[in-house]
Symmetry: C2
Subunit: 360 residues, 2 copies
C-alpha cells in the first residue's frame, strides 16, 4: 500500500485583524517593481472601504474584482491568465485570492496556469501539473469550503467539473482572519457552512477513513454543531469557530474523500450551474438512506435557521439532460467508492440516481 505524501499549507496566520499583516507577509516575495501582485477579490467587496482600503497596492499591483455568482470555469481561468500576462511587464510576483471558495479556487488555478502551458482544462485531473505555480496567498472571507487548505481547485470545464489536483495547488500562505466573514449574508453563511458539515459526514462515514482524517473530521463536525445548533455562542466565537471548522474539514477530506452528496451535486453544477454550497444542501436533504444521522441533524439545522431550499430544480428536465448529470456524477468513481464501497455500482444504478435527481 502506498500512502499519499500530503502537502500542507506551509504558512498560516490566524487572528481577528490579521488581514492587516498582508503587506508585511507578501512584500519579501516581490520579484521586481515590474512584477505585480494581482489581487483577485470577490466583487461583493467592491466599494467596501473597510476591506479594500487595506489591500496593499504598490507599483503595478492590481485588484481584479470577480463575481462569485457562478461556479469557476476553466475558460475564466484562461481569460484571467491572458489578461494578467498581457499587463505584466516582468512576470507576476504573486496571486492573492480574497473571497470564498470560488475566488480561492480561481486564485489557485491562475497561479498554476501562469507557469504551465496550454489551457486550464488540460490539467483537470490528478497530478498533471508540471511546473510550480507562482506564489499564491489565500484569504477566505466566508467559511466552509476548505478551499483555503486543499490541494485541488475545482473547475467546470467544457467536458467535466473536476479539480486540478496537484502538489503545486495548495496556497503558499493562508491568512485566517475570521473578522472578514462578519458581513456574510445568512443564506450564504448557511450553504457554505454546510459544505463543511457535509464534507465531515461524507469523510467520517466513508470507507477511505483513517485515524488522520477522522481526527480532523471529528473536530470540524463538533465545531459545526456548536456554530449551527448552540444558542449561546457570540458572533465572534461563531465566526472564529466556523473558520476553524472549514480548515479542519478541508484537512479531513484531503486524506480521505467526499461522497454521495458531492458526487450528485457535481452533476447539478455541471448542467444547471448550481452553486456548490446550495447544490450540496439540495442534494444532502434527500440522502437519508445513505447518511441517516447526518441528514436528520442537517434538517434540524435548516429548521433552526429558517432556511428554505429551492425545490423542483430538475422538474423541467428531459431524459437527455438527466443522462448528462448521471454521466458526470457516476464518473466520479473515488467518491462513490468511498461512500458505498467497492460494490458501489450495484447500489447506485443509473435508474436509482435518476430517481434521486427527480426528487430535487
Amino acid at each position: 500500500m502506498n500512502y499519499k505524501n500530503f502537502p500542507m499549507v506551509p504558512r498560516v496566520v490566524f487572528g481577528r485583524g490579521s488581514f492587516n499583516q498582508l503587506n508585511e507577509l507578501i512584500s519579501p516575495k516581490r520579484l521586481s517593481i515590474n512584477a505585480p501582485f494581482i489581487f483577485l477579490v470577490d466583487d461583493v467587496f467592491r466599494g467596501n472601504a473597510w476591506l479594500t482600503s487595506r489591500i496593499p497596492l504598490a507599483y503595478d499591483d492590481r485588484v481584479i474584482y470577480i463575481s462569485a455568482k457562478d461556479e469557476p470555469k476553466t475558460s475564466q481561468v484562461d481569460s484571467l491568465v491572458e489578461e494578467i500576462i498581457l499587463t505584466s511587464r516582468q512576470g507576476t510576483s504573486g496571486i492573492i485570492g480574497i473571497g470564498g471558495g470560488t475566488i480561492l479556487d480561481l486564485a489557485k488555478a491562475v497561479a498554476i496556469m501562469l507557469t504551465n502551458e496550454g489551457e486550464a482544462k488540460d490539467y483537470q485531473g490528478w497530478d498533471l501539473v508540471k511546473n510550480p505555480a507562482v506564489y499564491h496567498v489565500g484569504i477566505p472571507t466566508i467559511s466552509g469550503t476548505g478551499a483555503e487548505v486543499s490541494r485541488t481547485t475545482v473547475l467546470t470545464g467544457p467536458d467535466m467539473k473536476l479539480g486540478i489536483n496537484s502538489d503545486f495547488t495548495p496556497f503558499d500562505q493562508v491568512i485566517l482572519d475570521p473578522e472578514l466573514t462578519k458581513g456574510v449574508q445568512k443564506n450564504q453563511w448557511f450553504y457554505t457552512g454546510m459544505d463543511c458539515y457535509i464534507h465531515c459526514i461524507e469523510s467520517l462515514t466513508g470507507t477511505y477513513l483513517n485515524a488522520f482524517s477522522q481526527s480532523y473530521g471529528e473536530i470540524a463536525l463538533q465545531l459545526c454543531k456548536q456554530v449551527f445548533l448552540e444558542d449561546n455562542l457570540s458572533d465572534v466565537d461563531s465566526q472564529d469557530k466556523l473558520m476553524m471548522a472549514s480548515w479542519h474539514g478541508g484537512m479531513s477530506i484531503a486524506y480521505s474523500q467526499v461522497g454521495v452528496a458531492h458526487a450528485i451535486s457535481y452533476g447539478l453544477s455541471y448542467l444547471l450551474g448550481t452553486k456548490h454550497g446550495i447544490g450540496n444542501c439540495i442534494v444532502f436533504d434527500h440522502l437519508e438512506e445513505f447518511y441517516p444521522e447526518g441528514v436528520a441533524l442537517f434538517k434540524e439545522m435548516k429548521k433552526k435557521h429558517d432556511i428554505y431550499l429551492p425545490k423542483g430544480i430538475c422538474a423541467h428536465l428531459d431524459d437527455s439532460k438527466f443522462d448528462i448529470m448521471i454521466n458526470i456524477s457516476l464518473s466520479l468513481e473515488p467518491l462513490w467508492e468511498n461512500a458505498l464501497g467497492k460494490g458501489w455500482k450495484k447500489i447506485m444504478t443509473r435508474e436509482k440516481l435518476k430517481q434521486l435527481y427527480k426528487k430535487m
Copy 2:
C-alpha cells in the same frame, strides 16, 4: 496586534506501514553520491531488524544510534555536527530522525547547525537562526511530545534549558506510521502520552488561547481521553489515535503556549536531568491548585494504568540547588504569563515555587 506567521510541516504521510515509503520520499532529495543521508536512530532499535532493515542506506549514508536516556544537550548537537562534517565529503543530503522527542529534537538541531556557524547554545531562544537547515525528516516512534510538528527543538545548554525556536526548525517531511510505536514500554508510553495530555490542559486553560489552538487542543484532549480511559480500544486504534493526539497537541501549543507544569519541570530537567515526560508527570501530579479538573483526570489515568511516579526526588537538595531550579523555571516568562496572566509574579513567588519543588 501582530499574529505569528506559523510554519507548518509542508509534507506529511500517514498510515501503518508508511515507513516503507522512506526511500521513495528521500531519494529525490539526494544532493550527490558523496553527500550522505544521516539517520539518527533511537538505540532501542539497535539490532531490531524489523525496523533497521527498512532504513534505506546507499553510498555513504550512515546510521548513528543515539540513547534517549538523557535529555538532548547542546554539546551533544555540536559533537554530532562535527562528526557528520568530518565524515561527509560533499555536505549532507539530509538528516532523518527516527525516535521519540529526544531524537527528533536532536535531528532538528543537527540539521540547523550543519548550515549555521558557531555552537548550538548560541541559537537557544527565538528566531536566532540565520540560514535554512539541511533537509530533515521526522519519524516518531513514540507518541506525545509533538516534536514532529513543532517549530522548536528543546535543548539543555550550559546556561539554560531552552528551545531553538525558528522558522527553519520544523521538519521538511514527517512520516506518521503508528505501527512503529507498537513496541513501546508501558511506563514510557504513559509518560510520553501524558506530555501531550498536559500540553492540552496547559494550552486550553491558558490566557494565550485562541480559536485556532483551541480546536487543535480539544481534539488532542479527546483522543488522549479515548486512549488512556476507554476500555474497548484495540491496540491498533490506540496507537493510531495517540499518534494523532501528539500531532494535534503539538499544533495547539504552536499557536499558544504551555504552562505551569512545563515551567516547573524544566527546572527538574536542568538540575537533575529528569526526562521531560516523567518530569512533567511528577510535577503535574501536584498542580491541583492550578489545573483542578486536569489533575483529577490525570490521577484517574495513572491509577487505571498502575503507574507509580518516583517520590522525593528533591528531598536531598539544599537551598542553593532549589535556587537553581527556581531561577530556570521563573525565567520562562511566557509560560507563566500564559498560565497565570500578566500578574503571575504575585502568584508564583520564589517561596511558593520552592514549596512545590519540596513536595516532589
